[in-house]
């Protein structure tokens, strides 16, 4: 069954409709990617899903339950965790404190300790920097912290907004390796990326957005071979 089902989602800032009648679904265990140019409505879609903006119309179902227009903390409590564009880590808190905030919804201390250990095993750099202010780390390390912070919450659906943006090539590779590993473990992910070729490599299914509408969708391998996509996003 579908983890996430979006129908007719419309989001507007003032008079400008950033997303227009979007239909999209993500099945359990799938990685679905959303590609498109700047301003196509990818980030706005994620922000509407996690409650940061209220959609003007449409319906969002998470595991069959209507979450349209709920406030962000209510949506997070249902397991939809959003790693926002620009990472948005708490720069003035330590790495350890950032992870603790990520576990805000988890009440069981043993479970928190277990997740913290698994995050620090996945990101050994964070273990080295546990007591450092998060703002003093490099962009790549901050992205790992943003991911680790979301994993502390035990996501049933993870939204990743441009996780590779502004990172050095080595970090980009590492981030996509981590996404592939999360997928192998069965994590359901909705991924927004500028780096279309890497995103299509890791994804099962893809949607191409232009000015707020879906213009193409299909299995990632097919979308990657579509001549229009190749010309516009894969830059061959």
């Amino acid at each position: 069954m579908s983890r996430l089902d979006i129908s007719g989602l419309t989001v507007a800032y003032g008079r400008t409709e950033a997303v227009r009648g979007l239909d999209l679904s993500v099945a359990q265990g799938q990685v679905v990617c959303l590609i498109g140019a700047n301003g196509a409505g990818k980030t706005t879609t994620l922000r509407a899903l996690s409650g940061l903006v209220r959609p003007r119309a449409g319906r969002v179902l998470l595991d069959g339950a209507d979450i349209t227009g709920l406030r962000p903390h209510r949506i997070a409590a249902r397991g939809l965790l959003h790693v926002p564009e620009g990472r948005q880590i708490f720069a003035e808190l330590t790495v350890e404190e950032n992870l603790a905030v990520g576990a805000w919804l988890v009440r069981d201390a043993a479970e928190i300790a277990r997740r913290r250990d698994s995050v620090l095993t996945r990101f050994p750099r964070l273990r080295e920097r546990l007591h450092q202010h998060a703002g003093s780390m490099s962009g790549g390390e901050q992205q790992m912290l943003a991911l680790g912070r979301a994993l502390m919450g035990g996501p049933s659906l993870l939204l990743l907004d441009e996780p590779s943006m502004g990172l050095a090539p080595l970090f980009v590779e590492e981030i996509f390796a981590i996404i592939a590993a999360l997928k192998a473990e069965g994590t359901t992910i909705l991924l927004v990326e500028q780096n279309a070729s890497a995103a299509l490599d890791v994804a099962d299914y893809a949607y191409v957005l232009e000015t707020g509408r879906v213009v193409l969708q299909g299995p990632a391998a097919e979308v990657a071979n579509d001549p229009a996509v190749v010309a516009a996003y894969l830059g061959v």
Partner: protein, 293 residues
């Protein structure tokens, strides 16, 4: 004589610190300059006055009740005036003007209801006794001020640094959106912060009322000016800075009044403010905020 002045100054400064702490908490977390804040100070003093005079409660009971009462007033006022402005992301000037209008209305309503005269606590509230230590006189009001300030400042620091709730508040202060995405109910956390800061102001009002044994509606207005001096000198949103700057201001005022002229003490306070703003706009103790993308 000099040592006595320093002690008096530190104790006066302790109440300034307490008052400024709530102000800096509100500003640092909710990112709003709420001018109604001074009203919570007056409200706390009048609540304690009513509880001791009207119900004959002892001060150790009236003080915490007045603090809680002022905290609740702060929650209600914040919800009525500012929730809407926050939701539409109104410019800072909007909250400044709304709260300025509100506080003037509240002070004049209070004056109409309670009268403009200076009121005093009933005589049995504080014995007026004093202890002498190495030639320095400390009244029981001053001992109460010291104890209450120490407990509240210590409690606030412990809450912010050691508890899960404090962690959530610090996260929200930095990035409200990201805090919401982690599951923190930012609306409730904001109400809690309003309550805490209103309670600190209310407790400060009771203590100043006891220190000078004089209570009148506009007492919060004069305090508000000092609140600005303390949080700007101490660094906006900085707890340690507010405490040190509060104590310093108290000492400077008492020394100015004692050795120069009583009428000059406010002039000195504002001269310090202007000099600090010229030379160190981030405050004497505040770090310059540098953030990476």
């Amino acid at each position: 004589m000099f040592a006595q002045q320093i002690v008096n100054g530190v104790l006066l400064g302790a109440t300034y610190a307490l008052f400024a702490l709530g102000f800096t908490l509100m500003f640092g977390v909710l990112r709003v300059v709420n001018l109604v804040y001074g009203f919570y100070f007056s409200a706390g003093a009048f609540m304690a006055l009513g509880l001791t005079r009207g119900f004959g409660l002892p001060i150790w009971l009236a003080l915490p009740l007045a603090a809680v009462g002022s905290g609740l007033v702060a929650v209600v006022i914040d919800a009525l005036l500012l929730t809407r402005l926050r939701r539409v992301n109104a410019p800072e000037l909007a909250s400044l003007m709304v709260t300025l209008g509100a506080v003037l209305a509240l002070y004049s309503a209070m004056t109409v209801a309670l009268g403009p005269d200076i009121r005093r606590f009933p005589p049995q509230v504080l014995s007026g006794q004093a202890v002498e230590l190495a030639g320095i006189r400390i009244t029981d009001a001053q001992i109460l001020i010291l104890a209450v300030t120490a407990v509240l400042v210590g409690g606030l620091v412990a809450l912010m640094r050691l508890s899960r709730l404090g962690l959530a508040i610090r996260a929200m202060a930095e990035r409200p959106d990201a805090a919401g995405l982690m599951g923190i109910d930012t609306g409730r956390a904001a109400a809690l912060v309003s309550f805490l800061s209103g309670s600190l102001a209310g407790a400060g009002g009771v203590l100043i009322g006891l220190n000078f044994n004089a209570i009148q509606p506009y007492m919060g207005e004069a305090m508000m000016l000092r609140g600005f001096v303390v949080i700007i000198v101490g660094g906006m949103g900085d707890i340690g800075g507010a405490v040190i700057a509060g104590l310093l201001l108290g000492v400077v005022e008492v020394l100015t009044a004692g050795y120069v002229a009583s009428d000059l003490k406010e002039a000195v306070a504002f001269a310090i403010l202007v000099i600090v703003l010229w030379t160190r706009p981030q405050g004497l103790f505040g770090r310059a905020q540098v953030r990476r993308a």
